[in-house]
């Protein structure tokens, strides 16, 4: 196990948001938690990697694990053709990410926003959703009416919001309850 040195030089440590695990996907663009220090995020990646490596070993799956820190988040990527750890539309990946965040929490006692990817699934899905979001934006601008998109996971909705945010003339928000929560794209009336 790699132990990152946890120097307490950073003035702002992560806040104790009770719901941080639930909201950890940061779907709402406005949500900006205080900046966690890099040492903590590196430690998150190390704990996650140990947890996942143990699982791969037991299952006799081949995969390399890479850790990184991006946008104030620990990112852990397992490479390899491991469709069983991704599942239909990423459901197994989301489940494994949730367990991995809990494993990290056990080590750090700080709710984790760690993002897990397996076999490049998230990048591929982000590209697909960007195309879908651009189509929806086009449709909204053409007809001036709102478009309701299909139910999506928090990660998927975030991918859509990111594209809509960067597109003139349209705005987006999420509606409905999990697991059927979906994105609505509106004309930007301002």
């Amino acid at each position: 196990m790699t132990e990152a040195s946890t120097s307490d030089t950073s003035a702002q440590t992560a806040t104790d948001e009770p719901d941080a695990v639930d909201q950890a996907d940061g779907e709402t663009p406005a949500e900006k938690p205080s900046q966690p220090d890099t040492d903590l995020l590196i430690r998150e990646g190390d704990i996650a990697a140990d947890y996942l490596e143990g699982l791969l070993d037991i299952l006799d799956y081949d995969g390399d694990i890479d850790m990184d820190v991006q946008n104030d988040r620990a990112m852990v990527a397992v490479s390899g053709s491991l469709q069983d750890l991704v599942g239909q539309r990423g459901v197994t990946l989301e489940a494994l990410q949730e367990l991995t965040r809990l494993a990290v929490y056990r080590g750090t006692r700080v709710p984790s926003r760690l993002m897990l990817d397996v076999g490049g699934y998230r990048d591929a899905r982000r590209k697909e959703l960007a195309a879908t979001a651009r189509n929806a934006a086009e449709q909204v601008r053409e007809h001036g009416e709102l478009v309701r998109m299909a139910p999506m996971s928090a990660f998927e909705r975030k991918c859509v919001h990111d594209v809509i945010n960067a597109t003139d003339g349209v705005v987006s928000e999420s509606e409905g309850e999990e697991p059927d929560r979906y994105v609505v794209v509106h004309p930007d009336t301002d």
């Binding site: 639930d22 947890y51 143990g54 699982l55 037991i58 299952l59 006799d60 799956y61 053709s81 491991l82 469709q83 069983d84 750890l85 599942g87 459901v91 197994t92 989301e94 489940a95 494994l96 949730e98 367990l99 809990l102 494993a103 929490y105 056990r106």
Partner: protein, 85 residues
Amino acid sequence: MRKPARSPEVVRPALEHLVRGIVDHPDDVRVRMVNSRRGKRLEVRVHPEDLGTVIGRGGRTARALRQVIGSVGGRGLRVEIIDNY
């Protein structure tokens, strides 16, 4: 690429590992394979203080464990968290 479902003999320690990693009392985690007429199931026992963690709010964590185990071990394998002491 989809791999053949892992045998219950492999899935049992995999589940044990997943549970041990998230609880405060990893040494108290026991996962037992039970053969019944309705098929095989994995029974998970944890320290009473860890029960809430393993089940999660609204059963969220238990659902995540079932999802991962179902995905690697095949749909026929059930996961049961034993909560009576």
